[in-house]
Symmetry: C2
Subunit: 331 residues, 2 copies
DNA sequence: CTGAAAGCGCTTACAG
DNA sequence: CTGAAAGCGCTTACAG
């Protein structure tokens, strides 16, 4: 910076003022400085700036696994919104591990991020974020709502999503239900199951006709749980799965076992993955809008960084049911 | 750091030496310092460290779009390998825009990254990387090989992949071919087309029985080009598509038009997307190993950062054909 | 084995 | 409107 100050015949303070456009100098001076920057190929050092000013343009993003389509979509949308405001994401995959989450939180703070977006691992406690709050680094949580955390949160309304799906199945005339629910240690796992259950109870479906299996989040566990349903000869005409990955796995097993999906068996999932739509029959799904969530998380974070001190907010994005051939028929 | 020096009754130099484990002090001193760090909740400031030492633990990652499954897988694997060595990725989506690529390159360098992994946009020139080479920041390119760039490159062997797929189709007895090729401004677009074409010429297939359409990379353009093939009444029993997204789009149109995929028409794609496998019939695909590429890029970058000055290297990961129902039949 | 001090590249009161 | 100087939190020769 002193090089370019020399070249332009001004002081370094003037160079800094030009870069940050504090508007304290004449257009003529600015132009001269900018010309020198061009010629010398100047690239501002954000690190040094942050060291002095305390302000940073990096945002820490902690997700379980960015290769999961939901998070990939989320990150793309978050990155786009951040970059519009001059911010850049530092992304870390933390899996389902609170230890690693703590390490990466520290790591990302060590790198001087201005704010943090995090989908907290199951078992996260309020105190895990002390390291950020001490430093007044705003944190926005998403997707995994943790009870009693009292922090900014944006995610889809999982309870409502499950109710939508279940009511649809009831409307199609189903009376015997099964669900392959996700990990009950996570909020989406619990909420989707609760929505399913509540909708059935409200419709007067007896316990005996509601069967729930619990598993993880992938195709493989859909397959395994479907096999169990088959070998236990559980009776059901409607199957709700925690997400479309589980749906695809379960549907494949059920098809193999001779069930006609879309004719005598309805299968419904969540998250609207292309994979479910590509299936034959196309699988009904509840869209949960990862792109909306990504954009909203970015904007909330930026608002907080701009000094917004409005009370902690919780936003639950409204889901949308996409009825496809796997559940369109009437029983 | 001076606080913890005071607490431990040592100088800041000793604290720094403890953190960086330069091994210059007694275990006893180290223990005392570490205790003070714990108690005061010390988090090292990488920015300040980088400012003084010039060393950084951030890696810039520039991809077209992280929500494309191939790149999502790539990034997960890259991140895992980087984080094993204490590095963290700063990720930017640059689309297909060399202007934005230049901006983000500068941005990422401004944030003090130690190295850069980039899938260069079509039209990237050697001089676009001057900004990095001037600063001696190692750059590893991937997926998009740019001719005459003379830089480290890791990607899949697209030519070989297309040959694998085409030879398979020849072996199944096909004699009339169509291809929906990807953008010819990109190396994968050109190489997959060239591999297809060369394999057919080598087998003595006449020009008249080779039909090539060129489009983008998504389902929609697969759909559009398939419609064109149908309305032009192009004759073919084997269709090769630039990737599985295109395959799915094209296959859907062809099915609608009454073609029996897997019986009188073979469809083959690339990248082994779950979506293609979920299709009925399951679509044959060539796996191109994004996770291997991600890991290798990370390791090469780290080698370069460790001072490896071996000549520029090019690695082309060998592809693998996955034959599924869409092309298993004999003509 | 440990400490005092300079300096990395910026920003920011403060003075003029 | 512009400049001189201090200081952000580290690392690193250098001295002891």
């Amino acid at each position: 910076m002193s090089d370019i100050a020399k070249a332009a015949g001004v002081s370094v303070a003037t160079v800094s003022n030009t870069i940050n456009d504090t508007g304290r100098m004449t257009e003529e001076t600015k132009a001269r400085v900018k010309k020198a920057m061009q010629e010398l190929g100047f690239v501002r050092d954000y690190n040094a700036a942050k060291l002095r000013s305390g302000r940073s343009r990096l945002i820490g993003v902690l997700v379980p696994d960015i290769s999961v389509p939901f998070y990939a979509e989320f990150c793309t949308s978050l990155e786009a919104a951040l970059s519009e405001h001059g911010y850049l994401p530092v992304i870390a995959n933390v899996g389902e591990d609170t230890k690693r989450q703590q390490t990466m939180l520290e790591e990302v703070i060590g790198h001087g991020v201005a704010g943090i977006a995090i989908s907290p691992s199951a078992g996260t406690k309020r105190s895990d974020f002390e390291i950020a709050s001490t430093r007044k680094i705003p944190v926005v949580t998403f997707c995994r709502e943790i009870e009693g955390l009292a922090m900014d949160y944006i995610g889809s309304n999982n309870y409502q999503a499950a109710q939508l799906a279940t009511k649809h199945l009831l409307e199609q005339g189903h009376r015997k239900f099964a669900m392959i629910a996700g990990l009950q240690e996570t909020m989406p796992g619990r909420e989707r199951k609760r929505g399913f259950y509540d909708a059935l109870k409200a419709a007067g479906i007896p316990e005996a006709d509601i069967h729930v299996e619990v598993c993880g989040f992938d195709r493989e566990c859909g397959r395994i749980k479907a096999q169990e349903l088959i070998s236990n000869q559980t009776e059901f005409t409607a199957l709700l799965c925690h997400n479309d990955l589980v749906s695809v796995g379960a549907a494949a097993e059920l098809k193999k076992a001779g069930r006609n999906i879309g004719e005598d068996l309805a299968v419904v999932g969540f998250d609207n993955l292309p994979e479910g739509e590509a299936w034959t029959p196309a699988l009904t799904s509840v869209e949960s809008y990862p792109r909306t969530i990504g954009k909203d998380v970015a904007n909330l974070l930026i608002k907080r960084l701009d000094g917004d001190t409005a009370p902690t907010m919780t936003e639950r994005v409204e889901p949308h049911l996409l009825v496809r051939d796997s559940s369109r028929f009437q029983v």
